[in-house]
Amino acid sequence: MADNVVTHPTSTAPGSQWQPRIIGFLCYWCSYTGADAAGTARMKYPPNVDIVRVMCSGRIDPELIMSAFSRGADGVLVCGCHIGDCHYISGNHKTMARMPLVKRILTDLGIEPQRFRHEWVSAAEGEKFSKLVAEITEQVRKLGPLNWPKLMRERGVGHGMDLKAWGE
């Protein structure tokens, strides 16, 4: 998909170049603190990932991720504690079980699964987080804007749904 053709209103301000819009769900104890560590070390990374904090990555179910895509995200990132380090013991075990589902759902809907990434980031891995943001931003930039309403129409999903809310 050409990235200079902008039809999705949420991806850019009028007249300017499209920028990937990525939502990052980060668990408060490990990955959010890891992102803070990147900041404390003044590491620079692209601004395209907006962080939404939750207490545990186990809070994130595939529905929330799909909702993020449907509301205009071009990419979604989910980060949690490494296995064995979950502040809530096994919340991240559930995350680990759920995330492969997201890839399946995306593929079934004809969306590139590379728009979604799931990584473990510990409180000490500031560098890992900054690299992760740079990588996923580049990846999504290459894939171009998702343009969910157009995609859903093409795939035959959502007949009868009011897609005008997304500027159709």
């Binding site: 819009r21 620079k44 601004p47 809070r59 993020a68 559930k94």
Partner: protein, 669 residues
Amino acid sequence: MASQPNDAGDQARIGVFICHCGGNVSDVVDVERVAAEVGKKPNVVHSGTHMFMCSDPGQALIEEKIKELNLNRVIVAACSPTLHQLTFRRTLERAGLNQFLFEHVNIREQVSWVVEDREEATRKATRLVNAAVGRIRHLVPLDKRRIKIHPASLVIGGGVAGLVAARDLARRGMRVNLVEKTPFLGGRMAQLDQLFPSNEHARELLGKLIQEVIHQPLITVHTNAQVVESEGIVGDFRTRLRIIPRGVNHHLTYAGNAIAACPEETISEFNFGLTRRKAIYMPYPGCYPQMPAIDWRSCTKCGKCAAAVSGKGISLDEEPKEIEIKSGVIVLATGYDPYEPLYGEYGYGIFPEVISLQQLVRILDEEGPTGGRLLVNNKPVRSMAFIHCAGARQYEGINMPQPDGTVNDYCARTCCTAALHNINIIKERYPDTRIFSVYQDIRTYGRGHEEYYEKASENGVTFLRFDPFDLPTVRHDTKEEAPLLVRTRDLLTDNLEMEIPVDVVVLATGVIPHDISELVDMFKCAVGYDNFLLEVHPKLRPVELAVSGVFLAGSCQGPMDITEAASAAAAAASKAAALIAQGQVEMDPFIAMVDENKCTGCQTCLTVCPYSAITKDERKGVAVVNEALCTGCGTCAAACPSNAIHQFGFTDDQILSEVEMLLSDSAVG
């Protein structure tokens, strides 16, 4: 606990406060522009900036605006919430507003410090603050949970750490239940003799400590008691103990006769297998309780012991009983086990002349199996080689792996000092003994410990240093005059390879944590790579576990000597007592709640909860959250197929409104 949902929605009156952070934010993010943009959003009644929001004047500004403009929601955009979220929540409380009607936006660590382009940074900050505006409309007032703390403590483990912790807790007026799995108090310290650096006798010191504990009315001692179940939360732990009958009571007067009459024998764990003991036994004279116990695994209930004392004081048919103990705090003092070398490790188990350091300590003990005489397998010892780091500082592929395939890669800390201490004792009593110390590094780190190294050197001990990748080997020697030949390559003499004939090889062994896997599961303790229990933070919170209300005392946390174990126990007692003294504990309110109208009783939430905090109310057919156990992870909220369970503070509405605002067109600068 929480008030009925009172979503402000259109009644929200939001105050937005953006911090310059003394330039840390404002040098990159145009905070005035952000304030102006956000100020345009519906329901935003105030939107301004301040140089240092967390300062007293900054907080005063928030309080002022709350009162002046009748704000019912407050957003602060500044540094990371990990720093000042609490500060601002308290500010709201002081101004009479519920502290959870607050949103903290991170525009420093996650924006101004990481985004290079000022325009992009400003746009990002605007997006994030706008997202908070969207989210905050859905926040409802919440109350912190308050749990009363039961004013009693449970100490698990009756060794030196457990005894010190119990004594110190009782001194502060706390009731203590001290639980010991074996029939006798004292733990590993009872198996030592002369202690470093003072050469005081271990059991004498231990005896004094035990006397203090048993004469303290606030302490109840349970021996032969095992923890079978524990549930609850800080302030309200309920632990069930299984008490195995001792088989002996205080009516027994001629213990010696009873023991002599017993026909069953088994190896003595107290003497690390060097001797045998009867099924009815006392590990050492002066043990506590001062009466024998029956080891039911070896006892055949033949009744000969009872017959020898006319039946007085021995009862072979008692049943185990269970008791429940309520406590507000728990102290784990479960201790360590000395490493037992594997069969074949440096010849251990193959050659009877290879012994462990813990066995040597028993031999040198005047109350021990040889009366303190240096005899190994009944033969005098003319020469010895001590091989250090047995079972410690191991490398995969070099050292023999443990049964589970891992190696102990940590340094066991106390063994160098212990080995040299015992070497000096031998040299004092048997100055002609030829002793070699075959070591990797000498780590006599403590006060008074380095002197042992110097003294050993002065006493004519030969030190040979080996490379960890080229371990010494031990084999039988039929040619030479001594039974064993130790081969080693000495780094101190330029890699000279040598073979030393010796009568005895002593393996200076490390330590491993005593196996408490059931307790680890019960209390959900974190365990390190070395299998010792893991504290929350090694510097700031060294005796606390991530589980609130459970404290660590002693060598269950890592290799340490008695001094260190006693210090740790005192620290744990201090922390535990401070907690009880507070009377109650406050916890965050971000717990789960079931919407009974939507719940179908499928129990999916039950199965995913890491804390077993959810049960099913069979009568109503719905799930019920135990507010005291729920820690607020939200996993149940994600799992519920009916959207019937919500996490306060992190509902779908709250999260999605944040996501929507982040992606909305008007958010982009």
